[in-house]
Each structure stands twice: as structure tokens, then as C-alpha cells.
Symmetry: none
Subunit: 421 residues, 2 copies
């Protein structure tokens, strides 16, 4: 059974950009998890006519409408009034909510402003969801062939009512389970992924295939729908293998982990420690690696050597290299990797040097990146040319560097160098 | 003149909750800044009929519609097709976009997948906004009495086109001028800021006062609306001074700069160089400082000493300190600051050590942070206790460390220590 759900956010603060609509994101993810289809999000401000019109539009095209916001006690909280208007009915004060509110203020040890009793007003024909958090009751009503759930806009209160009431009711209605698997790839463009998977994308509706590019990575999400989790997982299996085989060494995980988690796990499995020498990225690669709790089990430390003097005096890069090929060169990347490995007594040394921009640096144009890896027995260096602004160059260089370590630890092939010394 | 703008996000990933609609938040804030009214947000998936219907609905009730997403090269990018359908027209391949795309791939040194030429297709009657970032051109067209702007969904590319093209055009249309000034504060909570400014918040409608807490900072935005920029600026002046005076040393800028920009500028003005020793933050403070172009004029480098061995062997922290007060202590922070200053031959040494969590570290509970500053003639150390998860502890520690440098360079008072050795 297909159940179409629509999410309607109410609040002028959303339209002014004072807050992001994180409620819609969370609800969408949870709703996908119980197998219902979300086809639209809407946001309107605290304006009666526009809230009523938006509710009516949602009810006309969806089976279920989840409305958040505007159930508080202040004068701009008018979602209750909008529901009464949509239902063309009056509001009646609910004595059990009134008692709940009075009791709550006694517990808080504060007098209750009379205006708070607005929260006890219920349109005739609507049902109440009593809150376990906060003071705003939710409402449920049927209109124009759809069921409407009105929930508070405070995220914790909304989540509590979604989890305890709305999601179980919808899961029962949908009768299907959704299972997703995410493959993540580095060092491959979204358009290249699309080209490789084009026929699967078009041929397969269940499981479905979707791509998402972000921060230099491409995520490929496979989603299957079936009567049970086990059936959905079975449906996904062959497609997951096919996608993994086609994308090859570019796939760093099929478990939706970050690249730093994968690199950390591989280092720990191999019982090896890493140290990093960063110029270009200013410590960004070390910061990423240490986002993962327990990174001290495989990360020794890093030398951020931003000036030529620091490269020479702190990390021991030779004056000949700095005067010759320069600070942005394969030779410098190689020396940095070997020297930082020895300085921190690590097994693997990783290095990054380059010109982040906007200006050229040490004779290299903005976007030039050199990455070095020194594992004692194996030494690699790789040049990249990254387009875009300073932050993009630094981010993609960091991703490529971590991916170089992953490929080394997994014995995989390397993408070629874009730059030659 | 009142200009009503509507924001339409296209992308199934939004409806699945894989990403939050941060584009709508950013655009709403910027649109409010140029004095136009945003009355609705909509989101639809990558479905031709629904995109066309959503565009038609937006165009029927707004003067301007900004559509984001679905302009990429992959088969699910169909916003161009939807515009052609709305305009009831055909698409024609634009030779100048084709040339731009081919040229771009030559620069990247990669073959261009033929599918990328989809990005050169333009509905007849639409105009092109050439991208300065990325490869997706924007489109502009008039339909149903409204002007539609189609922008890429990648945030950086969308922002570039908004800033260079859409916002200036809309500001011209709206007539009234909006001037905003943003004060940014560190090391003070949003509720404390609200308490200090409460009467101004309620008393003043033009200029208006708004707060926004994010990443440990509080931004106070003063916004004035007038016929000219000069009048709006005059309106803001006295309120800006009043707010600045009340918030005192906590204000690090009245020019909406980042803390790292302020610290960098102060270091450069003083002709001083900084070096950083990081344990807890794993390189995050150095990464922040080097986000600013030209950071090499005042930043020498950093030692990320994540293990006790690295603290001792690379940075020369004494075994007595590591065995006694331990790696998370005032003594260790002081030694790290002094030693990193000497190691990098810098004027100012900054250090961070602590327990990011989730577990205790070196005998200190998660959330314990020690920051040290050594400027030769002046030495400071400060303890903090930060609640929340690992990323929050690291972020707030980094903010407090940079703010310690700012207060030192500006000769300002320090907030007290929360922790005692």
C-alpha cells in the first residue's frame, strides 16, 4: 500500500532564515524508514490564510499531512486556529488539557499566565495527543480525505510525538519496510559515477539507485522496499555487489562510514601508526583523523609546517629542495612524508603541500597539490590539480591524501598524477 | 514596493532526509537582508510533473521564484526540462555553454562524458547565468507573471550566483534599502546576551535586534530599513554603540568577520608570529587560522602532539609533568605553549590539551580543557569545562583558544578559569 506523506512547517523564523528546517530533514528520514513516500515539503509563516491554504493543498494531494509549529501559547501560535478554519468548525476548551497545564505550572512553581490556556483549545472533531515533553498538545484530524497530524515545532517535542504516535501509526498503514545501503567513493566525479551506473539507474526501480555528491565524495544509495527487512536486504544484495564491482577501488565503504573512520580502522587492524606533515591543509587532515574517538590508537601526531623555515628547521626538509624544486613539489612532499614518519616514530608518514590560493605559492599555480606517503618499504607521491576556491582545494587535497593511505593499506591501485614535477 | 519571493528546492535527497535544506535557510536570510518578503518554501523531488506543478504554483503567487537543484549533468537532473515544460517550449543546445564545458574538462585534464552536454541545453526564451564556480549554468526566465531564477543546488555555486546576480537584481527591485551590522561575541551564552539586551530587543523595531547562537558564538544582528543606505546606516549607529558597550570585551568584531580573521589581523598589525601546540583539537585551531588567505604572514606552524610520547619527544614536555599533573593539566598546557613558541621561533605560543571524550583521558573527565599562551613577557593559562559531545568540546576549546590570543593582543581582560589544577 502506497502512503503519500507531506510535511508542512509553520513559522516566520524559517522564512527569515533564522533557523534551518531541521525538523523536515529528521521527519523525512524517519518517514522513509517506515516505508512511506514524502513527495513535498512546504513552509509558511505565521499567517492564518496562508496556513489554511497550505494545509488544504497538502490534504488535497497527500494521504497524511504532518504539520509542525505554531502550537505554543503566544499570540503568533495560530496553527490550531488554522485547523478549525480548515475544518470549518469552532474551538472548544478541553478540560483535561486545562488541568494538565495548571498542574504543570504548579510543578514548575510558577503562576500560569492565563494566555497559556490557548493551548487547551481544540477544534471540534480533532483528537488530542498529550505531550510527554513540554506543554504543547498535538492534534489529529481528518480533512479532505487526508489525515492531519499537528505537532509542536520544538524539535525534542516533535520527535517525541513522532516516535510515540505518528511513526507507529504510519508504519502500520504502509505495511512495507525500507532498507538502504550507502556506498561512498572518493576521487571520482559524480558524472563519472552516473556514466558507470547509468543502465542500473534506469533499469532498477526496486531497489532504486540515487547519487549524491558532497565535499568531494560521491555517495551512491541503494534503497529496497519489501514486506520485511530481511526481504528488502535480500533484494539489495545483488545490486550492491554489481555497483561495488563497477566502481572498483574508488569505493571506500559500503557501510556509510566516513573516510577517516575507514582509514583509522585499517591502521588499527594493521597495528600501524601514522604521522602527518601538512602545509597546504594547515592541520585539516589531522583534525579529520582525530574526529574519530580512539584515534590515539593509530595517530601519533602532525607537524603543520606552513613556512619554508618551519619545513627546514622543524621537519628537516633540505635547503636544496626548497631552493630547487621548491616547497610545492614532489621532492618536498616525499621529504616531508619520510621526515615526519621518523620525527614521530610512526610506521606511515603522510604529507601535503600545495598552493591553496587565491595566489600562486612557491612558483606553483593555485590548485597545485602534492601528496606524499612513506611507509618505509613503500613510497608514493601524487600530484593533483584542483579547481575552485581555497577551501575546496584544501578539502579535496585532504580527501585525496586520506584515500592514498586507504589504498596503500588495502593494497589497491592509485589514481594517476595530474601534475608532473 | 513589495516584492514577494518564493524558494523552491528540487531534490529527492531532501525528501528522503539525507540532507537538510540549508540552501533555503541561507537564501531566506540573504533575501530578508535586501528587503524582499519570502512567504513560502517548497521542496519537491526529482519528478518532472511535480517540479512543473510546483514552479507553476510558486509563479502564480510570487513575483520572483528562486529554484535550486537539478541542474547537474546526471539523468535525475531535470529542472531544465521542467522549465521548458512550464514555458511550453523546446530546448536548444547553447554553443557557448558547450564550449565552456569542453574547455573546463581540458583544464581538468579529463575526458568529458558526453552526458555532461545536457548542461548546455537551454529552454527557448530563457537566459543563461554563466557559473564562476563549478560547471552548472543558471537560468532566468519569465512565466505566469513571475521571474524564475534556476540555480545549482551545490551550496557554494548557488551562493555565488545569488551574490553576483540574483540579490543585486532583487535589491534594485525592492527599492528600500536594508543595512545590517553584525556583532560577534565569543565566550558568552545566548541567554546571557538576551538578558543584557532584553530592553533594546523589545524597544526597537527599526533598527531591529536579533540573536543567533552558532558554533559557540553569539551573533547579534542589527537591521535598519530606510530609503537610502546612508539613512539606514545613520539609524543603526547609536544602537550599535549601545550594544557594543553593554557586551564589552566579549565582542570580537562589529564587522561580521570570523574570529580567525580578527586574530590574524591583530597579529599582522603587531608584526608578530604565532605557533600552536594542539593535542585535544588535533590541528583544528591551525586549520581555522589557515582558512584565511595570507595566513603565512603571521602563522609559523603547529605541532599536533596527540600521544604522550609525541608531547615528550617532539615538543619536549617534561616526563615529570606527564607523570605528575599529567597530559591534561595547566602545567602541561604551559610547557606546550612555551616549547612550541621556541620550536617554531615564534613570538606567541598557543596550546590546547584536554579530554574531548567520550571517555576520560589522562585522569581528566571528558570536557576538561586547558589552554596555554606564552608570549615571552606574558604567560597565561586557562581551564574550561565544556559539556556536550566530542565535536562540541573540540570546537568550543578552539574558539576559547583563539579568543585568548585576541584578548592578549588587544590587552583585554580574560574570562576566569572554570577548572583549578
Amino acid at each position: 500500500l502506497r502512503v503519500r506523506v507531506e510535511i508542512l512547517g509553520v513559522g516566520t523564523e524559517l522564512l527569515l532564515g533564522q533557523i534551518a528546517n531541521t525538523n523536515a530533514r529528521w521527519m523525512s528520514e524517519e518517514l522513509a524508514g517506515v516505508g512511506v513516500d514524502v513527495e513535498h515539503h512546504q513552509v509558511v509563516g505565521d499567517n492564518l490564510d496562508r496556513i489554511v491554504a497550505a494545509m488544504a493543498l497538502s490534504a488535497s494531494r497527500a494521504d497524511v499531512v504532518v504539520v509542525t509549529g505554531g502550537l505554543g501559547p503566544t499570540p503568533d501560535d495560530i496553527t490550531r486556529d488554522a485547523l478549525a478554519s480548515l475544518l470549518d468548525t469552532a474551538m472548544v476548551r478541553d478540560p483535561s488539557i486545562e488541568e494538565f497545564l495548571r498542574h504543570r505550572f504548579v510543578e514548575l512553581g510558577r503562576p500560569m499566565p492565563e494566555a497559556n490556556l490557548r493551548q487547551a483549545d481544540v477544534p471540534i472533531g480533532a483528537h488530542v495527543i498529550m505531550p510527554r515533553l513540554g506543554s504543547a498538545p498535538g492534534l489529529v484530524a481528518d480533512a479532505a480525505g487526508a489525515r492531519l497530524y499537528l505537532l509542536p515545532g520544538v524539535p525534542a517535542e516533535m520527535r517525541e510525538m513522532m516516535t510515540s504516535t505518528v511513526l507507529p501509526e504510519l508504519a502500520g498503514r504502509a505495511g512495507a519496510r525500507i532498507v538502504s545501503r550507502v556506498l561512498r567513493c572518493a576521487e571520482i566525479g559524480e558524472s563519472r559515477v552516473a556514466e558507470i551506473l547509468d543502465d542500473l539507474f534506469h533499469a532498477s526501480a526496486n531497489p532504486s539507485v540515487a547519487y549524491l555528491a558532497s565535499d568531494g565524495e560521491v555517495k551512491v544509495r541503494l534503497t529496497a522496499k519489501a514486506a520485511t527487512d530481511a526481504e528488502a536486504t535480500l533484494l539489495i544484495g545483488p545490486l550492491l555487489e554489481a555497483v561495488r564491482a563497477r566502481l572498483g577501488d574508488a569505493v571506500f565503504t559500503t557501510a556509510d562510514e566516513s573516510l577517516e573512520q575507514v582509514v583509522g580502522r585499517r591502521l588499527e587492524e594493521a597495528g600501524r601508526h601514522i604521522a602527518i606533515a601538512e602545509s597546504l591543509t594547515g592541520g585539516g587532515v589531522a583534525t579529520r583523523l582525530t574526529r574519530v574517538p580512539g584515534a590515539s590508537r593509530y595517530f601519533r601526531g602532525a607537524a603543520v609546517v606552513y613556512s619554508a623555515e618551519a619545513k627546514r628547521d622543524v621537519l628537516g626538509v633540505s635547503q636544496a629542495t626548497l631552493d630547487g624544486p621548491g616547497a610545492v613539489s614532489e621532492a618536498c612532499a616525499r621529504e616531508m612524508a619520510g621526515n615526519v614518519r621518523r620525527l614521530f616514530d610512526a610506521d606511515v608518514g603522510l604529507s601535503l603541500t600545495g598552493a591553496a590560493g587565491p595566489d600562486a605559492h612557491a612558483g606553483a599555480p593555485a590548485g597545485t597539490v602534492w601528496i606524499g606517503l612513506d611507509a618505509g618499504d613503500e613510497r608514493r607521491a601524487r600530484g593533483l590539480r584542483v579547481s575552485g576556491g581555497r577551501e575546496r582545494v584544501r578539502r579535496l587535497a585532504g580527501l585525496a591524501a586520506l584515500d592514498l593511505v586507504r589504498r596503500h593499506l588495502e593494497g589497491r591501485s592509485l589514481p594517476g598524477s595530474d601534475v608532473h614535477a
